[in-house]
């Protein structure tokens, strides 16, 4: 019997920690394989994982389906880009401005949207995020919809050199670890209990004496600020800002990552972001119409794996989750070895799929045999 906090199930914690360590070793793998592109891909993955963790705080723990989280990525990114455009590159100015800017935008959007619930909340967050998107679109001084190239990366003095790919990657990774740790503390604190209580039954929360709105708004602002951090990092590693970084589809991607990984689980969004972006990367290199494959995969997860990847592990279906991760790894290896050639890739993957199906079929037959033999005990 698991309590509210899924972290109590050790398997998720173990899997999450292993994944974190593996992510921490990516620069080493990239160096061994002499593959600079790998580092670029994983920098993006780690940054999006930070954004997904921030969304999970309000979506997973607070039940607030924000369909406009990309707006904060935009605000964080634009703050860096605009300041750099005006020649201000010092980190101690850029970062606080970006974070406070994201927090203020989140405060405004939260104040307006948190008065509503359900579909109205989703639509309002979307609409307000679109407003921010069109602000970026109309900012002709900063490139309008063409975007703006950042000529000089943030200057951390002698402390960090962000022009160094490994340094930037490790900065992102350390920030991801910190954000996860913060989330862990917050969701288990008194504040976190209120957040989760309000998700479960906000009417009762008010009757108990909690001014629910204030707590929700605070969580919304924290989440927006962390998402703004992801925006800072996005702008830094792409050296570019454009309205595309806050397009509404990006907000949708974040929701998918959280749902895919497991809502309200600490490591869920991490699993989700890694799986989502790796699949996207691999599938899109095979075919232009990769979404035809990607869509059904997501649909299957939503239909058959409630609670996402994390949920599958918690329910004891560790085998399936593990199979999924191994498959993903296999796909990646295949992808790596035959980059533009789909025939060997398809052969290997079809073989793997057949093997998994065969194992599954045998287990099922055994299970049926056991069930019919021991029917009295059931």
């Amino acid at each position: 019997m698991s309590s509210l906090l899924r972290l109590k199930s050790p398997i998720t914690t173990i899997a999450g920690s292993i994944l974190l360590v593996l992510l921490g070793l990516v620069p080493v793998f990239a160096m061994l394989l002499d593959d600079p592109f790998m580092l670029t891909l994983f920098t993006r993955i780690v940054i999006m994982a930070i954004a997904a963790v921030s969304l999970n705080l309000i979506l997973g723990y607070g039940g607030m389906v924000s369909f406009g989280h990309a707006a904060y990525i935009g605000v964080g990114g634009y703050a860096i880009g605009i300041l750099a455009h005006h020649g201000i590159t010092e980190a101690w100015i850029q970062w606080p401005v970006a974070l406070i800017g994201s927090a203020l935008v989140a405060l405004l959007i939260g104040l307006l949207s948190l008065r509503t619930k359900g579909i109205f909340f989703i639509m309002l967050t979307l609409a307000l995020a679109q407003l921010v998107y069109y602000l970026g679109n109309g900012a002709y001084a900063y490139g309008g919809d063409d975007g703006l190239t950042i000529l000089q990366r943030t200057d951390f003095g002698g402390l960090l050199d962000l022009n160094d790919k490994e340094t930037l990657y490790y900065l992102c990774w350390v920030l991801l670890v910190i954000v996860l740790w913060l989330t862990y503390r917050v969701v288990n604190s008194r504040f976190g209990m209120v957040l989760q209580g309000a998700k479960s039954n906000d009417r009762r929360m008010a009757t108990l004496g909690f001014p629910v709105f204030r707590y929700r708004l605070t969580a919304f602002v924290i989440s927006g600020t962390i998402c703004g951090l992801a925006g800072i990092l996005t702008a830094t590693y792409t050296d570019f800002i454009s309205p595309a970084m806050m397009h509404w589809t990006r907000s949708g991607d974040l929701i998918v990552m959280v749902v895919l990984g497991g809502m309200g689980s600490l490591f869920g969004p991490l699993f989700g972001a890694v799986t989502f972006l790796m699949l996207e990367e691999i599938l899109s290199s095979w075919t232009e119409y990769w979404k035809i494959v990607f869509g059904p995969i997501l649909l299957l997860v939503v239909l058959f794996a409630r609670g996402g990847i994390d949920g599958a592990m918690v329910r004891g279906a560790a085998g399936y989750a593990l199979t999924g991760l191994i498959t993903l790894f296999l796909i990646y290896v295949v992808h790596y070895l035959w980059y533009d050639d789909w025939i060997p890739a398809a052969v290997v993957l079809a073989g793997a799929a057949a093997a998994i199906l065969a194992i599954w079929y045998r287990q099922r037959r055994e299970a049926v045999a056991i069930a019919s033999a021991g029917g009295d005990h059931a």
Partner: protein, 249 residues
């Protein structure tokens, strides 16, 4: 005479053409168990919703301990000392029994803008919560997830949460709803224990329980209070017998 704990004057609530609360007056005295009875649709739950602040009355006033609370939000009324148990069990199903109560304790232990310290291991929450569970006889289920408790236990937990906010006035909306005779008897015993220390407003269909517990009874019909008095008076009241009690009395 002392001012009543709760004083409701001329309360009106309309839903379109339907008058759910019709010029209701109600006094609840300190320490008493005041039952409100009436047929289905008499407006009992609508009345509670206005007392707790979920519904805004169209007219009239509600005074609690001498303070006008007619326009206060729900959470503020809770801090003045009004608690409510719900007719349809309203607990946090994915929390454990103890965590449910701890949340109630937390609501009245200062603000909750505390982001760092682990709440579940905080003795300031655990100890009072455990005490409340012992009071209602649920201590042995402390670590059980609330969703797997029985119906009777859900009702006990519902009351325990209300008690854990240390209310001065407890609004009980059909605490015996859906209970078998054994569970009902246990609930009556529990309410007897706290009777006197907390003023209670009791809405209940179980007449045995009402007459066993209530010091005074108000009869509500079509949103209108047609009689208030001690149980014996109500039993003898001809108007009440016609409207509600029927052959039961």
């Amino acid at each position: 005479m002392l001012e009543p704990v709760l004083k409701v004057e001329g309360l009106v609530k309309r839903f379109g053409g339907l008058v759910a609360t019709d010029n209701l007056n109600l006094d609840i005295r300190e320490g008493e168990v005041h039952a409100v009875i009436g047929p289905n649709g008499a407006g009992k739950t609508t009345m509670i919703s206005q007392l707790i602040g979920e519904l805004r009355p169209d007219a009239g006033s509600i005074r609690f301990l001498g303070q006008d609370i007619t326009h206060l939000p729900v959470h503020a009324r809770s801090h003045l000392g009004i608690a409510r148990s719900f007719q349809i069990t309203s607990i946090f199903l994915n929390f454990t029994t103890l965590e449910n109560i701890m949340l109630a304790v937390q609501a009245h232990d200062g603000h909750s803008f505390r982001f760092w310290k682990d709440a579940r291991s905080d003795p300031r929450l655990r100890e009072p919560a455990m005490a409340a569970l012992e009071q209602v006889g649920l201590a042995h289920r402390a670590e059980t997830v609330a969703s797997v408790l029985s119906h009777g236990e859900h009702r006990q937990l519902e009351i325990a949460m209300a008690l854990a906010t240390r209310p001065k006035l407890l609004l009980l909306d059909e605490p015996m709803a859906g209970m078998g005779p054994e569970d009902s008897a246990r609930m009556v015993t529990l309410l007897r224990q706290i009777k006197g220390s907390i003023t209670m407003l009791l809405i209940e269909h179980d007449m045995d329980a009402v007459f066993a517990l209530a010091d005074r009874i108000t009869v509500l019909v079509y949103g209108r209070g047609i009689a208030t008095g001690e149980p014996d008076e109500i039993r003898r009241n001809e108007q009440v017998r016609q409207a509600y009690l029927g052959d039961e009395a």
